[in-house]
């Protein structure tokens, strides 16, 4: 493939997707009904159209949402609205990634895990006697939570996201891009391995049994900056291998550290700056400090950061902004006003992680006490509705429900995997100048990202995870060997074979563009 464009037009827009009613916040096993808004959650759209003297030659709209994940239903609903609007934007030119904040509204409506089986899931589930109808309560039990349901939130968010996409598309103007690499110590590997060879997510390192941090960390920050024809900065793509989960247990709506980062970047580069945050592969990463916590907390305190909750978020924001400030003056020496552009969107079949009867037994055994607990709590609730007046009355019952359903899902997977051994996923690859962008829907472990980046012929390869199908963890081989949450069958629909295929397809597609 060669480049057939000689210039690009780019447009930016942002939408507030903060609801004005309580919602269930996504990210934990137990439900959290939001009480107020710490900071807004937003959707940002960055539109690019390539053209030459004969006309348009390619397009993409990259979208990032302060959400825990992006489901196919959200993506498809946004595309329907785009389809209905005029303006020449192909809905399949749009991809949407999540920053993976754990303090945003839950927008998942498909029964737990069913959409993982692609468009055939409804038929498969019906054939196996299940109900494939999306539930307005989504992942949560129907127990009378007084919230804007996930389905209602989804409709609200879809409208705003689609508006942002169309606005960015409308505002396309000729411009240039610059890009660069910086560093910031933000993401930490969250899986600790012990002397017995097992790993635990967020394990304790201060014990004699602790052996090592299971995997790697990536302290790079990738940035792409866009300029208008007056060479004024219009926006930035900021790609960081770390989910935004500092405040992952709070009961308020928040974009987590991306809020502070946007504030800081706008302080430095202008209040009208658009920022597209991208979470690079970080399935085994987290902003939580497991090694060196005491020293870090001391530093936050001495630096006068606000509170323990916000201190690490402020710290991260400053680190990202410092990295960007360190990149921009140098990157813009090579602003590219005629960047080559290509965009490929394909559905790729990845081999599923095939599970065994033993895996199902293990998962059901793990889920059994939660099933018993759920049934008991439901009975208590029915016999004593006054329980609903207790603050956070729903915590244990929703946790039990989710843990129970997680086990049942493994059983359903076993039943379905024979008929559907591959998982179709939508993947996008974009070339913009010397930079490649490539999406995947998973919480992809870092090892895969390094492989893609090193085999890619792009000067820099921006990888975006959590872009579709409410993807779960895609663990590395070494993490599978160590077990634990995030790598056991119950946590993962796709395993290393699928990861390898994803690497192979992504690298082949990128390299055909160079």
């Amino acid at each position: 493939m060669g480049s057939i464009n000689d210039r690009v037009k780019m447009g930016w827009a942002q939408a507030d997707i903060t609801p004005d009613q309580p919602v269930v916040l996504a990210g934990q096993f137990h439900a959290r009904v939001s009480k107020g808004i710490m900071d807004p959650v937003t959707a940002t759209a960055f539109a690019v159209e390539a053209f030459n003297d004969t006309g348009p030659q390619g397009q993409v709209v990259m979208v990032s949402c302060d959400l825990a994940s992006i489901g196919n239903e959200l993506r498809d609903a946004v595309r329907e609205r785009i389809q209905a609007a005029s303006g020449g934007l192909d809905p399949f030119s749009v991809f949407i990634g999540a920053t993976h904040t754990h303090s945003a509204p839950d927008a998942r409506i498909v029964p737990y895990g069913m959409e993982q089986y692609g468009t055939e899931y409804k038929r498969l589930v019906s054939d196996h006697g299940g109900s494939a109808n999306a539930s307005r309560a989504g992942m949560w039990p129907d127990i009378g939570l007084e919230v804007m349901s996930p389905a209602d939130y989804l409709e609200f968010a879809v409208g705003r996201i689609a508006d942002a996409v169309l606005e960015a598309w409308e505002k396309r103007e000729p411009g240039g891009i610059a890009y660069g690499l910086g560093h910031a110590v933000i993401g930490r590997n969250r899986r600790l391995t012990y002397r017995d060879g097992t790993s635990q997510m967020y394990g304790k390192p201060g014990t004699p049994e602790f052996s090592h941090v299971e995997g790697y960390e990536d302290h790079s920050v990738y940035a792409m900056v866009t300029y208008d024809q007056d060479q004024k900065i219009t926006g930035m793509v900021v790609n960081v291998p770390c989910p935004s989960q500092v405040s992952e247990h709070i009961y308020q709506i928040s974009a987590d550290y991306w809020h502070e980062t946007r504030v800081e970047l706008r302080k430095r580069f202008g209040s009208d700056l658009f920022i597209l945050p991208q979470c690079a592969p970080a399935g085994d990463q987290s902003p939580h400090v497991l090694i060196g916590r005491r020293a870090e907390e001391r530093m936050w305190r001495l630096k006068g950061r606000d509170t323990d909750q916000n201190a690490p978020r402020q710290e991260i924001a400053l680190k990202i902004a410092d990295a960007i400030s360190d990149i921009v003056p140098y990157a813009e020496k090579e602003t590219d006003w005629t960047p080559p552009f290509q965009h490929v969107c394909e559905t790729v079949d990845l081999p599923r992680r095939m599970i065994s009867e033993q895996d199902v037994e293990d998962a059901l055994e793990e889920a059994r006490p939660f099933r018993e607990q759920y049934e008991k709590l439901v009975a208590e609730l029915e016999s004593n509705p006054e329980i609903r007046k207790t603050p956070r009355w729903y915590t244990e019952i929703t946790k039990a429900y989710r843990r129970m359903e997680r086990g049942k899902r493994v059983r359903t997977r076993l039943e379905l995997q024979t008929a559907n051994p591959d998982m179709p996923i939508e993947v996008h690859v974009v070339r913009l100048g010397d930079v490649a962008f490539a999406t995947n829907p998973f919480e992809l472990y870092l090892d895969y990202a390094l492989r893609i980046r090193e085999l890619s012929e792009a000067a820099q390869t921006f990888l975006i995870q959590k872009a579709g199908c409410n993807g779960t963890y895609l663990p590395s081989r070494r993490s599978i060997a160590c077990g634990g949450y995030g790598s056991v069958p119950a946590s993962t629909d796709i395993g290393p074979d699928g990861g390898d295929r994803l690497v192979e397809w992504t690298v082949d597609t990128i390299n055909r563009m160079w």
Partner: protein, 485 residues
């Protein structure tokens, strides 16, 4: 913090240049290199700390721009004792057992190991290993005595910064590499500095530590006098160069002094970094591009990053100076189980040695590699009589900060274990601390042993994970004892 046992601090600094005036043999690589110039001086820097009331509180750290501390092979090496003898003669008031030498592990320092590259005479004008050793020993002695004698009341403060300097240098592959070189087993799933632009590349074997532990020293007027900079990377960015150099520590010192004054002393400490290096195994293209855009070499970039970390923490440090704090220094000798050479390994190494000796007779200069094989066979015999080898362990408490030394190129996993279990708020680990006898080999992690490759094989390790675990336990135990007093 319990303020009992807090005492006034006295702090002294000194630096000596130990850059030779003649060409030298550069150490630390398998092949011989004769230097063709100097790219920044190699120095030794001493920081002396003591309190008024307790002889157990004194310590002198001496950071040396060297690859290691050896003047003879294996157990004949007593460079540390030679330095201590010199000090006893010049300054008997100094407790030499509390003088700690640490190597920054640059690969472009003068070689001090006699017959490292064989017995052939060096070209005219090239300084011998003995001469270089004498220069180093003299420089260390002068720096220590001066630092000790110019101790004045002052204060310290500390903080934690970050700088991306060290990278894990072990690339792991799906397929096992069965290649093997006589005298240096390199087969396995991991290759040091392996190519990651390879479809069979799986992952980076281990972890990285991008913290910078910083301890600042101040005079009585709260003026900055020096900083201890502790980071997990050997100084080997230009390790294959043909000039004498301190590598990136030169740029770090230059940049800090440019910003804060040429009088500022910098004590360089390499934390546990046996599997680390400043070389990037991945994102090389992107990093090279940024260097070109910035107009910097990588060493200059490292200097900039570390100086930025120093500056970021400085305001916090200036606001938290302590002039009276608890200072204790424990020195002990611990026993480490040897990495046992198996019978099968001994047979294989004998075969290797036979091949190497045949090559040598045919004219190949493989002295260095052959010596490695001879050492393995020597260990095979020694282990029957003495299954353990000693290590001098220094544990220091300075307020809420700990220092802990070890003699090896200790893989990072052990350092992380110590830091996670240490009672100190910050724990400065110092590898390649001088010990007599054979020092400075790799001490690989369990996962490195499993993956093999250079650094994890029989040629490379006198002590293996069993010994690594002893170092961790003894260090943690000793630190907890210090904190419980």
């Amino acid at each position: 913090m319990n303020t009992d046992h807090c005492s006034t601090l006295n702090i002294g600094w000194a630096t000596r240049c130990v850059t030779p005036e003649r060409p030298v043999v550069l150490g630390a690589q398998f092949h011989m290199r004769i230097s063709d110039g100097v790219d920044g001086p190699v120095t030794v820097t001493a920081m002396a700390l003591s309190t008024d009331d307790s002889p157990n509180s004194s310590l002198v750290f001496v950071a040396c721009d060297v690859g290691g501390f050896r003047h003879k092979w294996y157990d004949e090496n007593n460079f540390l004792e030679m330095c201590r003898e010199t000090l006893r003669a010049r300054a008997p008031e100094i407790d030499v057992s509390r003088v700690i030498l640490n190597a920054t592990h640059t690969h472009t320092a003068p070689n001090t190991l006699i017959k490292r590259y064989g017995e052939e005479p060096l070209p005219d004008g090239v300084a011998t290993a003995e001469e270089c050793m004498d220069v180093l020993r003299e420089g260390i002695a002068e720096a220590v005595v001066e630092a000790w004698n110019n101790r004045k009341p002052g204060g310290v403060s500390y903080g934690l910064g970050t700088a991306v300097v060290g990278h894990n240098r072990r690339a792991t592959y799906f397929a096992e590499d069965s290649s093997r070189r006589a005298g240096a087993v390199v087969g396995g799933f991991t290759r040091m500095y392996g190519d990651t632009n390879d479809p069979t590349f799986s992952h980076i074997e281990g972890y990285e530590d991008h913290y910078v532990d910083l301890l600042y020293t101040w005079d009585e007027e709260s003026n900055l006098t020096g900083v201890v900079v502790n980071l997990a990377s050997p100084s080997q960015e230009t390790e294959g160069a043909m000039y004498v150099s301190a590598d990136f520590w030169h740029e770090i010192r230059e940049e800090i002094r440019r910003r804060h004054g040429s009088h500022i002393q910098i004590l360089a400490q390499c934390s546990t970094a046996g599997d680390q290096s400043p070389h990037r195994l991945w994102y090389k293209t992107a990093e090279e591009r940024m260097l070109k855009l910035r107009g910097l070499t990588m060493r200059e970039e490292i200097g900039r990053r570390v100086a930025n970390a120093v500056d970021e923490v400085l305001p916090v440090a200036k606001a938290t100076i302590e002039t009276e704090l608890r200072c204790e220094h424990l020195v002990s000798e611990i026993s480490l189980p040897r990495r046992i050479v198996s019978d099968e390994e001994a047979v294989a190494v004998r075969d290797d040695l036979a091949k190497l000796e045949a090559e040598a007779r045919a004219g190949t200069n493989n002295y260095r590699i052959a010596q490695r094989a001879r050492r393995v066979l020597e260990r095979y015999e020694q282990q029957k009589q003495s299954p353990d080898i000693p290590m001098e362990l220094h544990l220091i408490r300075l307020g809420d900060v700990a220092f802990a030394t070890n003699r090896f190129e200790l893989f990072l996993d052990y350092g992380i274990r110590i830091k996670a279990r240490s009672p100190a708020v910050q724990t400065f680990l110092v590898q390649l601390a001088a010990n007599d006898g054979w020092d400075g080999t790799y001490l690989p992690s369990e996962r490195a042993i499993a993956n093999r490759g250079y650094g994890g094989g029989v040629y490379d390790n006198e002590v293996g994970p069993e010994g690594g675990r002893v170092i961790v336990e003894e260090t943690v135990k000793g630190l907890h004892e210090l904190w419980s007093r």
